[in-house]
Amino acid sequence: MNPQRRTIDSSLADALLTRPETGHYDYSPVAMMPDVKVIKIGGQSILDRGRAAVFPILDELVAVKDQYPLLLCTGGGTRARHIYAMASDLELPTGVLAALGGYVPRQNARMVQMLLAKHGGLYIMNDDFEKLPLYFRLGCIPIMTGMPPFGYWEKAGESGRIPANRTDAGVFLTAEVLGAKRALFIKDEDGLFETDPKKNPQAAHIPRITAQELIDRNLDDLVVERVVIQYLLQARFCHEIQIVNGLVPGMITRALAGEDVGTVITKS
């Protein structure tokens, strides 16, 4: 006779949690802070360009900071690439790359904080997430890494060792958990193209596309991390991502005002 389980009665007390089935649940999650504008500032695309690119973008963001709660998230860039290249050369596991790749976006977030300090820029860690309501109430602009906190728990991919969940994924998941409908990615291209426009200037621009259409096209390269497209299909709140060219003055302002500039990728 086995010793008895001392269970707490609940709707899931006897449920199998190992293999969730879709269609079983009447799950209506509440949006925590749907008005927050979750914005990624690209690493290689923006921050590695220095003052010439960064200052005008921050000016645009500061100009609208009292209109919308802004949560800025930073990408990594060339130093993260250097870490990934070194770690790949040393044949280290993907989880180690993900953990080490986290340092660079945090540095970048600190850089942006220093520039925005006089406007209420506040560097926050993942653990400060629950204090966001306070920061917004105070009129601050919280700035955090775009990297999700998976670190060593990042799964190995089928090919290579580059972590699949990097700063694009983290920004999308941030918007999703806050209940924001759209996440904004500031990059140095006008959005999505058929091929990399840096390598093929003739590449055709794609202004609007669904996640499924994008998957069906099976492009070798994409302007956002591939997992973001998968997440978009499963998302409950964040049903659109918008990619704009931060090097073109006014684009960020227009995007925040709801204009479909750049590329919009939709859930359906």
Partner: protein
Amino acid sequence: MSELVKGDGRTHITSPLMRESLVDRRVIAKTHSDREVQIMPDVLLVGIGGQSIFDRGRAALLPLVEELAAARGTQNIVIGVGGGTRVRHTVSIAYDLGLPLGGIAQLVGAMEEANAVFLNALLARHGSMVMPREHFWELPLYLESKMMPITISIPPYHFWEPPAGDSPLPTHGSDFGLFQYAEVLGMERIIFVKDEDGLYDRDPKRHADARFIPAITLDALLADLPQELILDRMLFEAWRFARHVKQVQIINGLVPGMLTRALAGEPVGTVITKEAA
């Protein structure tokens, strides 16, 4: 590898990934190699079930403590603990309240912490310690001093748990978390201590005629994954592309001596292997 390169408006550091799109499949493939460093290959990970063991109290736990204490020093062991019924209650309340999936994922780890302390309270005099989940780089010190570190299992996905459509259940659960812990450190074996003899084609608690599976390969299991699984589905999905974990063993911790035999390498319970034996 430290020169700065300018000229396109950005400042790059020379590296094989400089200027490259990390989304480009051809670039990603270039970072592939058949080998990967095994950081701590000689460590065995033992996961102790929450609902299956801890929730049964001293009658289930004390014999396992004795077996773990006896094994101490014979091999390097890290112990992971599950959360059990308190996790289920947490999720059921959070589901009813309509908390977002990431919020539910953020909550559950706290319920495992108590089980880590429970186990450590019983095992400390034999040389155990509660270890913060991420403190990997201190493991050589702990293991060199013959300590048995105890860690929670849930992975730190927190608010950033990926969405799962209409399901309120985070897909990156404790079994997956422990698997990934072993994999990233290059460990080759994981033993899950549960309250069933191992893997069945259906849940043996619900179906008296469930068929026991003593040994199976990952490929064979994935080809016909049981609807009712004793371990997280995500574990098996992650294992497909994993490099190091060779064997996942599931044993019945309520049967005296099973853990000792599994620790000694005996194929008791169910043995799932990455490749055909």
